[in-house]
Amino acid sequence: MKSKVDSKFTPMIGLEIHCQLNTLKTKLFCSCNAQFRGEEPNTYTCPVCLGLPGSLPTVNENAIDCAIKLAHAFDSKINKRMYFFRKNYFYPDLPQNFQITQYNKAGGVAFADGGTISIKFDNKIKNIELDRFHLENDPGKLVHEGGDIESSNETLVDYNRSGIALIEIVTKPVIESPREARIFLKKLRSIISHCEIVDLTKDGAMRVDANISIKGHARAEVKNINSFKEVERALKWEIKRQINKLKKGQETEQETRNWNGKITTLLRSKESENEYRYFPEADLVPIEIKQDWIDDIKEKMPELPDERIARLQEEYGLKEYDATVITEDKEVADFYEECCKLNENYEAIKNWLMNDIMGILNEENLSISSTELKPKLVDEFISAIDSGKVTTKIAKKYISKIIKGIGIKKWMKKQGVKKITDKEKLNELADKIISDNPDVVEDLKKKPKTFQYFVGQMMKATRGQADIQLTRKILKEKLKKYMK
């Protein structure tokens, strides 16, 4: 709850999100392989992305396709004629000491202007307006030997990432709380992954900078919010800092701050803010996007999150909330639907997937594709529960193994979850259960399917250890007189 004092101060948040177009095969301005992660430093480089004298950039056509897709997803207005600019600043990760980007001043335009992303929270819908988005290249990566950026005496540079295509999305300063920012980013993630232009399972595929101000006061830009999970924390901290300053009667200043995981610290004040000297990049020719190109991509647009949420409710009977949560991560939604193709207990799949499996994955910071989890395993697992072979208790014990690719049957065998094959013991138990449930026995006369209830009770009583075949045989013998 906001305190009374704080309500005088309205935070205004604008986000700048860099997304790596890591589904492309090559970099934005050269033909180097874009799948650089995990490779030895400086092995995915060429004269262009190393900035060697004489090299020239060329534009990856598929990057334009990606941007058009995104414009459709946001309903942004694509600029029909545009060109690239150079943004000049010196930094060791930038091989030319300029970045090739798009600029919306000095006669330039972004790739696309406007657009919205609608988010739903507290039972209301809010449309977050976008200002623009544009294409640019990623710099290389710095390694600060023997410390961090401030204490290290030596910087090592790996240019494998240099030149990877980025789309920078800039929102208007219309986000009013850190929580809203988090919900917005979740929705944005879902959209870009549904557009299949960003593989979010890759580290650093989406990076966020935030512009934060208190209404009527100067804004600060917070950089290096490395994980999207940290956005909410970083924003909370920075808002508090600014409000505290204002409460003391001081003014906030226009500055750039660094989020170090705990607090934000001053990176540079406006006076020393870099002079970027934007000017047109004459090595690249202008881009003109004709309507038929735009229409062509529109026809090939994949299903977007809002459409999918509606369809999941329709097709699998999910509640809106569940459909929304599942769709937040395209990979999860895809996985869910794969499982549903094999097993019709949609509700159970949803519950186990969202409550248990995702819980484990999130805790260990894993994506589905980085594990051995397969729809087949989920099907086997859900079937085992449904047939009563596995009790909830055992299922809970097992579930962490499913992401290691271990099937429930195999696990149970290995666990030595011993089957109770003692006929006498099972006979005794069956008698007890039958006598304890005279009503159900009555039901059985009308509905033979009620038989399954007794199987379930037997399994439950033995914590799933009763031999299923034997149990069925015993029950059948005892109950057949009640069944047709």
Partner: protein, 492 residues
């Protein structure tokens, strides 16, 4: 009987093809000449003697066996030291790149050397980063004009111009951002063409001002220029600014004459400050063209007087960005004093690695692009560029080519302008409008001044009509025959 290395590229090509001479013969003849005169001229930054002889032998073997060889098979070629040649130093005449070995070939080398079998005999000297009109600012010392060693050879491709004039090579390549092919061609009494912007790939050419420059040949004869250009021109997927326009076979049409041509004489090229010796020779050439059947008309390019400041603003702005990459991390010079953070080390590295003219231009370019001055300087210059381009387009509605002097005077003495930037910039007053417009232009020797120094004239063509230029130049060359005159350097 002239020595082999005095022959033209076309003559050498034919003699190698018919096996009258071998490639090795001509390569060795060039190296003999280099040994004899290079100490006076200093045209080269590096010679590839061993490699060139080895390559010549390979080509000779192929020819003997009757195997297919390229269009420039076995012909010696010298290339300006900003054209990347894999495995060799590409220095741009700068301490900054002393020792930098290019790990890749520029597209022009790919085409002329790897595909068409020309033989690189060495890299030629130039003004540092192509910024200059005299080839005095090179880290490797000045180049001297073969016609008179007290004079500059022009620049920035002075090494290529001097090497051709001194018969140290058969063919050569230069680059032209504001006159850097045409100026040395004029001062050294040879031929050189700056092609239409987008005609030749810039991939692998160390950039000075990327919206203005093109690579082109400097050669003894007009046909040699045509031979080189037609083998390197055309769309390159690695240079987005190259145009997908078919390249004519210039040699097929070069002798077609100019009877149907209308030739424009732009007033503004003959204004105040033009050396009377230069004007006399150019006017004389115009008379020849008239006699040969072309129609001569007067035209006006009213915005030419603004070309020089426009050019320098654009070129310096682009240079300030193009040269930002030299920071001592990936390649090139790095300061010995590595105290401090990257900003301090970069500043020291760049302060020590770049010469004074390069630093002047970077500073002015940085200023012109900075907030508050961008509109006033850079955008203004781009607008004037539009006007200058329109002037040319209008003139070409009435004529096929334009004729004017290349330089306002003949070559000047070494050291006389080095410390006076404006005097040096004024050298380019007649060459820079062409780069701003993007049209092709050739400089051709059209006689000699009273002091014995060569005079160059400019033949400017329509966009992508290098063929018109070649036809005009060929007529003049065959009439005037100045290409047969040689500076006396001794040694034969």
């Amino acid at each position: 009987m002239p020595s082999l290395n005095q022959l033209s590229g076309i003559e050498i090509r034919d003699k190698i093809r018919t096996q009258e001479i071998s490639s090795e013969d001509i390569v060795l003849a060039c190296f003999k000449r280099i040994n004899d005169v290079e100490s006076k001229i200093n045209a080269f930054t590096e010679v590839f003697e061993k490699e060139a002889v080895k390559r010549a032998k390979e080509i000779d073997k192929k020819i003997k066996k009757g195997e297919k060889v390229g269009n420039l098979a076995g012909i010696p070629l010298a290339v300006k030291d900003l054209i990347s040649v894999k495995g060799h130093q590409t220095s741009a005449g700068s301490k900054m790149l002393n020792g930098y070995i290019s790990p890749y070939d520029s597209t022009v080398i790919e085409r002329l050397v790897r595909k068409q079998d020309a033989i690189i005999i060495g890299t030629t000297n130039m003004d540092e980063f192509a910024m200059g009109s005299s080839t005095e600012s090179s880290f490797y010392g000045a180049t001297y004009n073969p016609w008179n060693l007290k004079f500059v050879p022009g620049g920035s491709s002075g090494g290529s111009g001097a090497a051709i004039a001194a018969d140290e090579t058969i063919l050569s390549l230069g680059s032209d951002t504001g006159g850097s092919i045409r100026c040395p061609a004029a001062y050294c009494g040879v031929a050189g063409i700056k092609p239409t912007y987008g005609r030749v790939s810039r991939y692998g050419i160390i950039a000075y001002a990327n919206s203005l420059e093109q690579v082109g040949p400097i050669s003894k004869t007009v046909k040699d220029s045509a031979l080189v250009l037609q083998n390197m021109a055309g769309k390159d997927p690695k240079d987005a600014t190259t145009v997908d326009e078919s390249v004519e076979n210039y040699l097929d049409i070069i002798e077609n004459g100019i009877e149907d041509f209308t030739i424009g004489i732009p007033n503004e090229f003959y204004g105040e400050g033009l050396d009377p010796d230069v004007e006399k020779q150019v006017r004389n050439a115009i008379k020849i063209l008239e006699k040969k059947g072309s129609n001569i008309i007067k035209v006006s390019l009213p915005h030419i007087e603004y070309a020089l400041p426009t050019y320098y603003l654009i070129a310096m702005s682009e240079a300030s960005s193009n040269l930002a990459r030299f920071d001592g991390i990936r390649y090139g010079y790095k300061t010995d004093n590595t105290d401090g953070n990257f900003n301090e080390v970069f500043s020291r590295t760049r302060g020590e690695g770049f010469g004074p003219e390069v630093r002047r231009r970077i500073i002015l370019g940085t200023y012109a692009l900075s907030a508050g001055y961008f509109e006033m300087f850079y955008i203004k210059a781009l607008k004037v560029r539009t006007l200058i381009r329109q002037d040319f387009l209008k003139a070409y509605e009435k004529c096929d080519v334009l004729i004017g002097p290349t330089m306002p005077a003949t070559a000047f003495e070494i050291g006389t302008k080095l410390d006076d930037p404006i005097q040096m910039y004024l050298e380019d007053i007649l060459t820079v409008p062409i780069n701003l417009a993007g049209i092709p232009s050739m400089s051709l020797n059209c006689g000699f001044a009273s002091n014995g120094m060569p005079v160059g004239m400019q033949i400017m063509g329509k966009f992508f009509k290098e063929s018109d230029i070649f036809r005009t130049a060929y007529v003049l060359e065959q009439e005037m025959k100045y290409f047969k005159q040689r500076p006396d350097l001794g040694g034969y």
